[in-house]
């Protein structure tokens, strides 16, 4: 986490509002069971609009603010270079085609929804979608290299957040504010003013 805050001149980014719209449409229609894992793959690894570390930071903002996380992520990234028009273009890309698809699906569901093969296929896809999100988390941990708190403390915070929400069923907002607050204060103390 050294210089991602001042992006280098050759850092790739969205070229236009259309580019934003199409990029977010493409990642949204790949996002079965959630878009975050695909967003990470497309934006960090394929398009390189964001570094691992920058993605984690934007994702933190997207989670802490009200609103759906992936919609917040799209509007933050869209707004970064093109202001509110970019934010709207990215959000529209995220919504337009998937909305059409989900409405068609709702109409079709009335016909085939009771078929057991459909339910079994959805279950298999659900298990894969869960793995995709875990993999994104594992990959992002690479972005913690050079974190001001150091590896062991970062690991402990991640494990505590996982345990609190996954095993102890603490509400996510409390974990974000509680553990996140402690982590931010500790980081603040370690950063150069």
């Amino acid at each position: 986490m050294t210089d991602h805050e001042t992006l280098p001149e050759d850092q790739p980014g969205p070229r236009s509002l259309t580019d934003l719209f199409l990029t977010f449409t493409w990642l949204a229609v790949q996002g079965f069971g959630g878009v975050m894992a695909v967003a990470h793959r497309e934006l960090v690894e394929r398009k390189r609009w964001l570094t691992q570390a920058a993605f984690v930071e934007e994702w933190a903002v997207a989670q802490i603010m009200p609103g759906p996380n992936v919609m917040n992520l799209s509007l933050v990234i869209g707004g970064r270079r093109f202001g509110w028009r970019g934010a709207l273009a990215a959000m529209a890309g995220m919504l337009a085609l998937p909305l059409l698809l989900v409405l068609l699906l709702a109409v079709a569901y009335g016909q085939v929804g009771q078929h057991p093969a459909v339910a079994r296929a959805l279950r298999g896809m659900g298990a894969v979608a869960a793995g995709l999100i875990m993999a994104a988390g594992l990959r992002l941990s690479g972005g913690l290299k050079g974190h001001p708190l150091g590896g062991p403390a970062c690991g402990a915070l991640a494990v505590a957040a996982f345990g609190g929400v996954a095993l102890l069923h603490w509400p996510m907002p409390f974990v974000l504010l509680g553990l996140g607050g402690v982590a931010c204060l500790a980081t603040y103390a370690r950063l150069n003013p």
Partner: protein, 195 residues
């Protein structure tokens, strides 16, 4: 998605109430789209009786199964509200009204906050917030995967599903295999009854 017995149609004033309810929930929806689902259920199904139980739960399942952001379950709620109240035209109006309500306030707040944060990104406090949150956010991401895996565990053959989830996580973490292949494999394994 049939309405079921005892469901009430919405009339003029009701739509405004619905919009107001979603506008308010938008500002409270910290932590993701699905965190507000329990409150929507209480309001739409239990209190107002505008939606049936089956309509509510199938809206969430379909939105999870379809590509795109999970927040689209709110669009399906709006669709069903309109279908219960008249037909496809009202249903489309319900979609627009619901999505606008749930997205407009949070979008304005998040956009302003993010622009402010970016302008002040060199402040020690802003850097500490963004970097400090990172390990917690990564832990939460793993927890989300865990919760989703457990949700499908409830209905299927447990061990095989966990194995599929773990294999997917390893493959995506360590290789560049495209996501769509994995999803297709998951669907196929499901249809064949392996998981």
């Amino acid at each position: 998605m049939t309405a079921g017995p005892g469901v009430v149609a919405l009339h003029g004033w009701d739509w405004l109430q619905l919009l107001g309810h979603f506008l308010l929930l938008s500002l409270l929806s910290v932590g993701g789209a699905l965190t507000t689902a329990p409150e929507m259920h209480r309001y739409l199904v239990l209190q107002q009786r505008w939606l049936g139980e089956a309509q509510f739960s199938s809206s969430i399942t379909l939105a999870q199964a379809a590509p795109g952001p999970n927040i689209l379950f709110v669009a399906l709620l709006g669709w069903n509200l309109g279908m219960n109240s008249g037909g496809p035209l009202l249903a489309l109006a319900g979609v627009v009204l619901s999505l606008t309500g749930i997205l407009l306030p949070s979008t304005i707040v998040t956009h302003l906050a993010s622009q402010w944060g970016h302008r002040n990104r060199h402040l020690r406090g802003v850097r500490a917030f963004k970097q400090g949150m990172a390990p917690v956010v990564i832990g939460l991401m793993l927890a989300t995967g865990w919760i989703l895996a457990r949700a499908s565990h409830d209905t299927g053959s447990g061990a095989a599903l966990w194995l599929l989830t773990a294999t997917t996580a390893l493959l995506v973490w360590r290789t560049r295999l495209h996501v769509l292949w994995l999803l297709a494999a998951g669907a196929l394994l499901g249809i064949l009854g392996v998981v």
